[in-house]
Symmetry: C2
Subunit: 252 residues, 2 copies
């Protein structure tokens, strides 16, 4: 079992790191601490549905990672699939592809990973406040009961620390320089977008907010400009996926 003070120290470090390199070494440290050889952090920010932004911090063997990318394995990786759809960790031993059709590819993928030293591990999903999805994997190159026991023992710690790692990345990447823009909407812009997302026309929204239809259009146009989008459906999609508008608390 891992020492509580070590975990606390990693949490504290995660709150102060300020570059991707520091996150990398922090991950390495926690990886070692928990007894694993390899790690991988990856996240996807919903800046666009067709070309989302990715942030990858890899502690996987370089040749495997290169192979993974040239083969486009992300599309079939069962850990990625799990982490985009679930909120609980995936123990790699629980991956059981069927031998037919798509399962065959997954089988090949996993045996290749095994050959590169990625043998026993767990993947932790993190879903963030801005609609981003992240995965953090911890992997051992042992393939035995002791390694599997280690995975089980660290399931909770791994899930907890994945959250802190993700928030560190988020702070550095999104709130920092980055290609991922930070958009500040005004109260009115949010209101108008919310009602648009609710299916109201500009005129209907104007009745709800007791302002003129023209003003509603004005706010929606300003919002669209800030979001760098060209029309209302796209503005609504961005606002929703970046969680600039969220279901109101305390209603219903």
């Amino acid at each position: 079992m891992t020492d509580l003070s070590d975990v606390e120290s990693i949490i504290e470090s995660s709150l102060t790191v300020s570059s991707a390199e520091e996150v990398h070494s922090l991950c390495s440290k926690l990886c070692q601490l928990l007894g694993f050889e390899y790690f991988l952090y990856g996240s996807q920010f919903p800046t666009s549905f067709v070309n989302p932004e990715y942030v990858i911090i890899s502690g996987f063997p370089e040749d495997w990672w290169a192979h993974y990318n040239t083969q486009g394995y992300m599309a079939i990786d069962p850990t990625v699939l799990h982490c985009t759809t679930r909120v609980v960790p995936l123990r790699w031993e629980d991956i059981t592809p069927d031998k037919t059709g798509a399962g065959k590819l997954v089988h090949k993928f996993m045996s290749e990973a095994w050959d590169f030293g990625l043998r026993t591990g767990a993947s932790f999903p993190v879903h963030g406040r801005n609609g981003e999805a992240a995965i953090f994997s911890l992997v051992s190159n042992e393939d035995n009961n002791s390694a599997r026991g280690m995975v089980l023992e660290n399931l909770a710690i791994g899930q907890l620390l994945s959250g802190y790692i993700h928030e560190a990345v988020r702070r550095i990447i999104v709130d920092g320089e980055s290609t991922i823009p930070k958009v500040q909407l005004t109260e009115r812009e949010r209101e108008c977008l919310t009602w648009a997302a609710e299916g109201k026309t500009a005129w209907e929204t104007s009745q709800i907010l007791n302002i003129s239809e023209r003003t509603v259009i004005f706010h929606l146009q300003n919002a669209a400009q800030k979001l760098q989008v060209t029309n209302r459906p796209q503005a609504v999609a961005r606002a929703v996926s970046q969680q600039l508008i969220t279901p109101q608390l305390g209603r219903s």
Copy 2:
């Protein structure tokens, strides 16, 4: 430290529970196991931005919970605020409202909670695959260092189990009967919605997909009907928030 086999048994139970009552007793069990007196599970499903669906499973003192609701405390509850914006647990001892303005209300709120026996605890955020946000709180009525130590020790376990609880609720509520409908879109409907969410007009989408503009409109109308919405922005908003359309893997 909690026994690993107890945690495993709770995880297993979470996979088979089939009613809200069973979830309640499962939560009670884990609450006791970790040494707490009270729990609360709450989640919000983004079925609508104005009237979201709530699922509450309360193991809080009844009179406090009634008071909480009549006062509309959800809007100011710092644990709710934390869990809607963060992905890591909140230790209640870290809540430090300023004494000015809104902080004053929070202060009042917390001292009232203390009076009802809610004194030391932690709240765990869970963000789900369909844009839903959940909070799981574990609370002790002790207010001393041993209780605070207990919170710290169970931070990882609590975060892990919150995920399993949430998935159990999700399975029962959303995939079961429920007021939250499960929508199945066809491939074409998803494609058309995705491009609409990218800001493409029906005509532009028709060029991308090599079909007629009329057909794109047709698919969008069918999607809107399935989603029970009245126009395109709303259809896009629903599809995004229910993650019926998601950023494509392996691009960018």
